[in-house]
């Protein structure tokens, strides 16, 4: 795998970071990633990230849960071993539906919640046995790190980032994952 040069700028304050992101964006540089110890309000908008689509995914997962619950109970309670529910032996799913609604609701929530979490992990490139991508452990404590790819403009970027309030600026050779 090849390697690429990136610049790491460290900040110690979220407001300074937010201002720096705006300056860097104004200069039309691409910000690869930002590592922060806590969620910084408004950072996604400043970086120009697209709004999350996880709500749409959650809706679809919920629909899957609803369908699974319906198919499962129809097979178990109506087809495979027909049951007399509440003294109403109609052996029809739709006529016994009030009894099934709680399970339909629970599985809808169950599927939406669990699959949403799993989707979020995968989308964030976090899966079992993966090594942490975090370039500097201080970002889990009190530092904020901005990562910008370098394209033969080291000096210009370094000057810009220092001016924007970075406490440290390094050039790093990044191993591609």
């Amino acid at each position: 795998m090849g390697s690429s040069k990136v610049i790491h700028a460290l900040y110690t304050d979220d407001d300074v970071l937010l201002a720096a992101v705006k300056t860097v964006k104004n200069e039309k540089h691409h910000i690869e990633e930002i590592f922060t110890p806590f969620p910084v309000h408004g950072l996604d908008k400043a970086m120009g990230l697209e709004p999350t689509r996880i709500a749409i995914a959650a809706f679809m997962y919920g629909c899957v849960g609803l369908i699974v619950a319906t198919v499962m109970m129809n097979y178990i309670m109506i087809e495979d071993w027909p049951q007399n529910i509440g003294g109403k032996p109609s052996f029809s799913y739709i006529e016994n539906m009030p009894a099934f609604v709680p399970i339909m609701f629970e599985l809808t929530v169950f599927f939406a919640a669990h699959l949403m979490v799993i989707t979020f992990y995968l989308r964030s490139r976090m899966w079992p046995f993966k090594n942490a991508e975090n370039p500097d452990p201080r970002t889990t404590d009190d530092h904020f790190l901005m990562e910008i790819p370098v394209h033969d403009n080291e000096k210009e970027l370094k000057a810009l980032l220092t001016k924007s309030g970075a406490v440290e600026v390094h050039i790093v050779d990044k191993q591609a994952h």
Partner: protein, 462 residues
């Protein structure tokens, strides 16, 4: 400062007058009905049914087509219902007795129509009063910009409450069968409840509730206005409001529950449900919040509430969404237990509604649950005023139907229709409600500027 525009005044007064005329004519028309008229009508209906079975009345038609899903449930519970009827000694169904029964139902209709509309508009203002109390008790920071709208809507609690209680006592056994001594004399179940269900105690309880709610409303409004004029460092009026709001909420949750047994549940005096108070509360809460949103959007469109931003509307719409789901949860909790247990004296309540009120009963679920759930689910739509208005109108209509379903089956049976008396009664109280609410709005500045949270509220951003 809002001035009650002449146009709105004329609109509300003409709605009121139109309602009075419409309701008055239908009252006179049904009052003039005699037993012979009803017999002719019934004979006509019978021949009609014989000629073309599928071409029945609107209700019968709906039962035949829409209710396939519940057909078996109806059948299984039908037996138990007819047994219950026999137990009440109605097996002697001669034609005369039936005609008289129908005549009573037709006489009841204008009373019931008036009562449903009166309660619906009263319930909106009582729901807003609870919402307002919660904002104070929770010391909410987002909502003080909406306080004046809420205070205006709650101005209707006193007149609305007295009107509902007045109609209940005036209509008497036209709505509440237990108010008829003749019925009580032959009914052991009602006799057992007579210690609670008697006209005097009913009236006293109603007056206690209305007095309590109105006192809270009076003082919280007074402190709210006094806080505007007070020094910036003086929050004593706000603190007083906080204390009385906490006390009011305790009073409210008991009295609201008892009120819903008295004013609604007792129209079916044999039937009872322990979560009925919560169920009615959910209905009034969501209708109230919807009306806050609608009036706020109206005033904002007039440029009078510039301090209300998208985030406030978003929060109101979130409440509309959430409480609609909450209402459905309670509706279903009540329905499922009764359906599952299938005990005759309980299940008749739903059998009547599914057989004779199929369209409003299941239509209400679509209006109050499926529609708001799908329309208001998307975050962005909760910020679009016309979307909130559309969803709000549907929710209000749905909750009118909800009250309709609670009162009508016990009073007019299968002789229901949403016709002249119902629509006129709604117009009548809509006119009165608008007049009183907008009059109250014009009495004070639209921004509660003295509230200690007002800055936070103005800068509220979600």
């Amino acid at each position: 400062m809002y001035t009650f525009s002449k146009r709105l005044k004329i609109v509300s007064i003409s709605l009121f007058v139109l309602g009075v005329i419409g309701w008055g004519t239908s009252y006179v028309a049904t009052h003039g009905l005699t037993l012979d008229d009803v017999k002719v009508l019934l004979a006509e209906e019978n021949s009609h049914h014989g000629a073309a079975a599928s071409h029945g009345e609107e209700t019968h038609h709906d039962v035949q087509t829409d209710a396939e899903a519940h057909a078996a449930m109806i059948q299984s519970t039908h037996e138990s219902e007819s047994h219950a009827e026999e137990a009440h000694g109605t097996e002697a169904h001669s034609d005369d007795a039936h005609a008289e029964h129908v005549l009573h139902q037709m006489h009841n209709r204008p009373y019931a129509a008036l009562y449903v509309a009166a309660f619906f508009f009263f319930m909106i203002s009582l729901g807003v009063l609870a919402f307002y109390g919660i904002q104070y008790a929770a010391q909410a920071g987002w909502s003080p910009v909406l306080f004046r709208v809420m205070e205006a809507i709650t101005y209707y609690v006193l007149p609305g409450g007295l009107i509902v209680l007045g109609i209940a006592l005036w209509a008497g056994d036209h709505i509440f069968i237990w108010m008829d001594p003749e019925v009580v004399a032959h009914d052991e179940l009602i006799q057992g409840k007579a210690g609670w269900l008697n006209k005097t105690w009913f009236a006293i309880r109603g007056l206690i509730f209305i007095t309590g709610w109105s006192l809270y409303r009076y003082f919280s409004r007074k402190f709210s206005l006094a806080q505007d004029l007070a020094d910036v460092n003086d929050n004593s009026n706000f603190k007083k409001n906080f204390r009385i709001s906490a006390a009011f909420l305790v009073f409210y949750i008991y009295t609201e529950s008892i009120m819903s047994w008295d004013w609604i549940m007792s129209v079916d005096p044999h039937w009872f449900s322990t979560l009925f108070g919560w169920y009615v509360f959910a209905s009034m809460f969501v209708s109230g919040i919807t009306v806050i949103a609608l009036i706020t959007i109206y005033l904002k469109s007039k440029g009078l509430m510039e301090f209300v931003n998208d985030s406030h509307l978003h929060d109101l719409a979130k409440f509309m969404f959430a409480i609609s789901v909450f209402w459905t949860y309670l509706w279903f909790s009540q329905f499922m237990l009764i359906w599952y247990a299938n005990i005759p004296e309980e299940v008749t309540y739903f059998v009547t509604r599914i057989e004779d009120y199929n369209l409003p009963f299941f239509g209400m679920l679509i209006l109050n649950f499926i529609f708001p759930f799908l329309v208001l689910m998307n975050s962005d739509y909760k910020r679009v005023p016309w979307f909130i208005v559309m969803a709000g109108i549907i929710i209000l209509f749905g909750h009118y139907i909800d009250v309709f379903n609670m009162i009508m089956p016990a009073t007019v049976g299968d002789r229901w229709f949403i016709g002249v008396p119902e629509i006129s009664a709604v117009l009548l109280f809509l006119g009165l409600f608008l007049f009183i609410v907008f009059y109250a709005l014009s009495k004070a500045p639209l921004l509660a500027k003295g509230n200690p949270f007002i800055k936070e509220s103005e800068h509220f951003h979600y």
